[in-house]
Structures are given as structure tokens and as C-alpha cells.
Symmetry: C2
Subunit: 354 residues, 2 copies
Amino acid sequence: MGLDLTVDAVQLTEDLVNIESVSGNEREIADAVENALAGLDHLRVQRFGNTVVARTEQGRDERVVIAGHIDTVPLNANLPARKDEQSIHGLGTCDMKGGVAIALRIAATLPNPNRDVTFLFYDGEEVEAERNGLFLLSQTDPDLLEADFAILMEPSDAVVEAGCQGTLRADVITRGERAHSARSWTGVNAIHGAAEVLTRLNAYEPRRPVIDGLEYHEGLNAVFVSGGVAGNVLPDECRVSVNYRFAPDRSEDEAIAHVREVFDGFEVEISDSAPAAMPGLSVPAAAAFVEAVGGTANPKFGWTDVARFSALGIPAVNFGPGDPHLAHKQDEFVPIDHIDEVEKRLRAWLEDEA
Amino acid sequence: MGLDLTVDAVQLTEDLVNIESVSGNEREIADAVENALAGLDHLRVQRFGNTVVARTEQGRDERVVIAGHIDTVPLNANLPARKDEQSIHGLGTCDMKGGVAIALRIAATLPNPNRDVTFLFYDGEEVEAERNGLFLLSQTDPDLLEADFAILMEPSDAVVEAGCQGTLRADVITRGERAHSARSWTGVNAIHGAAEVLTRLNAYEPRRPVIDGLEYHEGLNAVFVSGGVAGNVLPDECRVSVNYRFAPDRSEDEAIAHVREVFDGFEVEISDSAPAAMPGLSVPAAAAFVEAVGGTANPKFGWTDVARFSALGIPAVNFGPGDPHLAHKQDEFVPIDHIDEVEKRLRAWLEDEA
């Protein structure tokens, strides 16, 4: 199936949604994107697995990355796309084929942008990091990601969301000694030992640091708790799994140290973590972008791939159509006016005399 | 396979162990018991499912029940029986074919006891109450259980263990409101809400009431805890499953009320309960029995079927060979000197001029 890049971004969103591309099944949509862009003289198109990179090479002083993932979460009886007067509904409309459609339209119709642009259409974002096309490219061809600034077109309500908070998961473990519950004084109850862990979580005061004028909001929460052997046995282990969301002024190492400090005296096993991304709004390119697209920026609380650019030293923001709270929901949709607004703002910024 | 009741109780234990009788598979052993007893003129033998009842009817003033279950927990590569100089090893040696062998020997060899005896050999003790032969008999033929006193030949280290503590299981539930863990202030964490539940468990002071001279020892313990939806979601429910073991001076209703009081302010769901049994050592028949078999009685902390007799108003004790801590263990065994000692004591008590 081919993609026609001469249709408007709303129609293009619908066309992209109707190419099913659940993670692991991105070949068809990557082929369509590659073929549609390959015919354009002003772009240099390269393919890496099911990730497509298209670059303008006008020799501008500045280069910007515009990126979007082409995969979706699993089907949930929500295809094909359905359009009404306000919105397009269906799998991937919000997360994030609306943003991908805008990027494709701009790639196709702005042959001479005021900044060089690297368009990235990548696979495997909705699954483990090892399958993420952007991550893989950062490992194999980091040169291709070089830029002064990056825009990730994840849904952000058509307003810039800057940086992102980091995330860390850890198990806080208490141990005891098994015994028959009819003779409980002969054992040590590990679940009872977790009282202090939960008490510390209850008393925890999350930081709300202001960075580049944006107020982030941390959180430290139990997301799972488990323990128990049998209905008549004192449990010898209890695990409280906590998720720490940390503001961009903290590194992963600092976040780990913080969690260990909060649970000082307990056994702590770090499960996984991903770094935060600084909003970078003090960087001229980023500040100019926010100014150009409306002057407003909000902090991003959740984790997104902007952190991968941040790790490469590239300031990055989220800016795309759709309500981020609808991502991964069966009834996700993207408002048509978001698509129009984001495309107009982005186009104007790339057409301005910079 | 037949059973020869002229062999001694040690040999008979070994023979019984070698008739595999995992719960649900008691037909063969029940047949063997029934057939072995049916030929004895001094006993009236009745069969109910795989439960065998054998009664002397000498018109004595007093009647005593001597009971044992004939089923075992599942096979665990621990058959056939193996005998060494001190013990018999294998599935059901301790729990409780040693006790059953003694009861069968006494049934066969004491045609004219000083008290009438109702021997009960019942199935389904190691599984749910609805399959317990003693429970079923108490529902269908309670007259057959009528007695002044009951001896349950469960392993008790060859010393009388009197009464038993009750057991009650309940879930203490906290509720919250789901939210993405990156925006935790928009939700309510149900696991954090369980801190107070665990704190109360930690602070709990169990009672140790003295009843008929025996010190019982209660306990209130979390046996399971669970909660959690996903690694990035605030959980909206947490369950702490608690097990309350209560002394025989408390009824089930009082135990339920106590647990509700301890967790006042929380949602409490009662899962199941079983009543305690009073030691009943102030009843002359019981006191005389303790005196006759050695003068010592210990409190029983775990729950046993003595509670079923207690519920019928019949004082009951545990008195059998074997260490109760070995019950349900792969390497269970019964000491030969326990078998000899318990048989000798019981026989003497039934032969005395009462």
C-alpha cells in the first residue's frame, strides 16, 4: 500500500492509522513511509530495519530533529479509523500517527526549510528499550541524530511539553522466619516488617523543583506489594515495589541514592531506571521554538524518548496533537484542530526568517 | 488386602502405612478396617462412606470416643514404610496411622473395657471440611458421637494436648484511586493506605489466657499481602490477609468481633473460621484420663478435630504417638516407643477399675 503525501495531514493521519503497525509488525508502514519519501529530491532517505531517516542537506547553521514512532500498542477492536467532525478515532490516532502525519507533510512540502531537518520515523517504541528504533540508531549511527534541537511529536495537547521526568523502579524487601501461624511467636513475620516501609512512603514529601521556569512534580509510590506462603504460615519475605519519578535536575545515580536513603536500613533491589531529560529551554534554539509555537511550555511528568536526545546533549521537547492521557486507551482519538494547529505552528517556525 | 489385628501396634502401623490412602482414595483402607473389625463379636460395626464406626455395648455408665483419620496428605516419594530400630518412617506414620493402629489394637483386644468405647476411623481429614468423615457423621448421625469424653489420636508427642485454639482468616482491604505514577498526586495509593494496617499488626499484643491450668497463646498475623495493577499505575486496592488464632475462651463470634475491632475504620472481609475447643480438664472423665495417662497436659495451639467434639459438648483431648511438627513433612516418622507408651497408657486406663 502506498502513501500519498499530497493529501492534508488529517487525511494522512487516517491513512497511516489504517496501516496496522502494532509493535513487531512495522514493515508495511515503514515501507510506505520510505517509498513516499524516496521520490523527493530534497531529502536523503536511509533505512535501518523498520526505521526511516530523511534529512534535508541545505547547509544551514542549525539542524533540528523531528521524530515520531510508527508502531502502536496492540489492537483492541479499534481499527479501521473512524472520522467525525471533530476528531479521528482509532488505534494510534493519538499515539502517535497524528504527529507522524504532520512530520511527513512537512517533510514532503518544505523543500527549503530555514533550518536543516532530520526526520525520524522509528519502530519499537511501545515495547522494551532493546527494540526501540531510536535507541538502536543512537547505538549504531549516533551521527545521524546530531542536531541543535529535537522535537518529539508525541501527544502533548498541541502545547510544548519540555523535558521529562525520570523513572526508577526498586523492590524494598523485608525478611523474616517462617513458622506455623498457630505458634507465631516462634517465627518473624516479614509482612509486619513492611509497616515501616509503607509508613515512610506515606510520610514522603515529593520535591517540586522549578527548572527553566517549569515546575516539575516528583512522586514515590508503591506500585506492587506481595508476600505470603500459605494461609497458616508466617511469611518470610515481603516485597514492596516502588516507582520513583524524578525531576530532570536529578541524575539516575542521584535518584538511586535517594531511594536507598529513603529506605535506609532495608534491603533495596533496583529493578530498572531511565534518566530524566532537562527541559533545555535556556538553549536559544529551544527558547525560540517555544516562542514561535505559542509561547507556552509545560513540564512533562511522564517519561518519553526526549530523554534519549537529552542523553546525547540535544535539548528536546514534546510537541504533538492529541491528549497524552488518551494514549494506550481503546477509545483514543486525535482532535482535527490539534493536527491543524500543530502543523501550522511547526511550518511557520521552519519558514520564518530564522 | 486384609489387616491382621493380632500383630502388635508397631507392625500394624507399618501395615496401615503400606495401604496408600491419600484423601479421596480411602476405600481400600476403610474396607480393610471394616473387615478386620467385623469379625469381632464384642463390636457393633457400621460403615458410612469410607468412615467406619465400631462400638462396644456393655451398658457401662460412661462412654468414650477414640478417633483417628485414615487418610493422608499426598504422596511425596515416601512409601512404602521403612522401619529402623527407633522409628517407622513414611507417609502417614506420624499423621496418623500410628494412632490408628493403637486404636485398632485396643478395639480388637479389649472385649470388656471398663467404659464403653466408640471407635471412629474416618476419611477426608486432610482436605476441606465438607469431605471430613467426622464432620459428615456429626451432621447425619450425631447420636453415634454421643459420649462423655473423646480422645483424638493425633500426634501429640505421647502427651495429652488439651483443647485447641480456633482459627479465623480475614482480608483487611484498603482502597484508593488509580492514576499514572508520573502524576501520582491525581490518585490515591491503596498500598500506602495499608501502612496503618501493618502498624496495628506490629503493635498487637496477643493474649495468653490460662484455662484449666493451661496457658494458651494467641496470635494475629498477616499471612498474605497483595496489591498492584502495573508498574506505572497507582494501585486502587490492597489486601492484607490476616490469620487470628484464638484461645478456647473465645467463641468464633467473639473472635470476629475482635478482629473487626482491631481493624476499626478498615473494610474487613471474613474468609473462614473454625471454633476453638475448651480443654475441658475440669470434667471428671477428662481429669481422670490425664491422671491415668501420666498426669501431664499441654495446651494445643493448632486447630484439630477436637473442636468438633467440643462443639457437641463433649470434652476432647489429643493424645497420640509422634511429633506434631512432623505432620505433613516428607520425612515424617513415628517413634516406636511412642506407640508402645500410648498403647500401654490407654489400655491401662480402659482396664482399670473405674
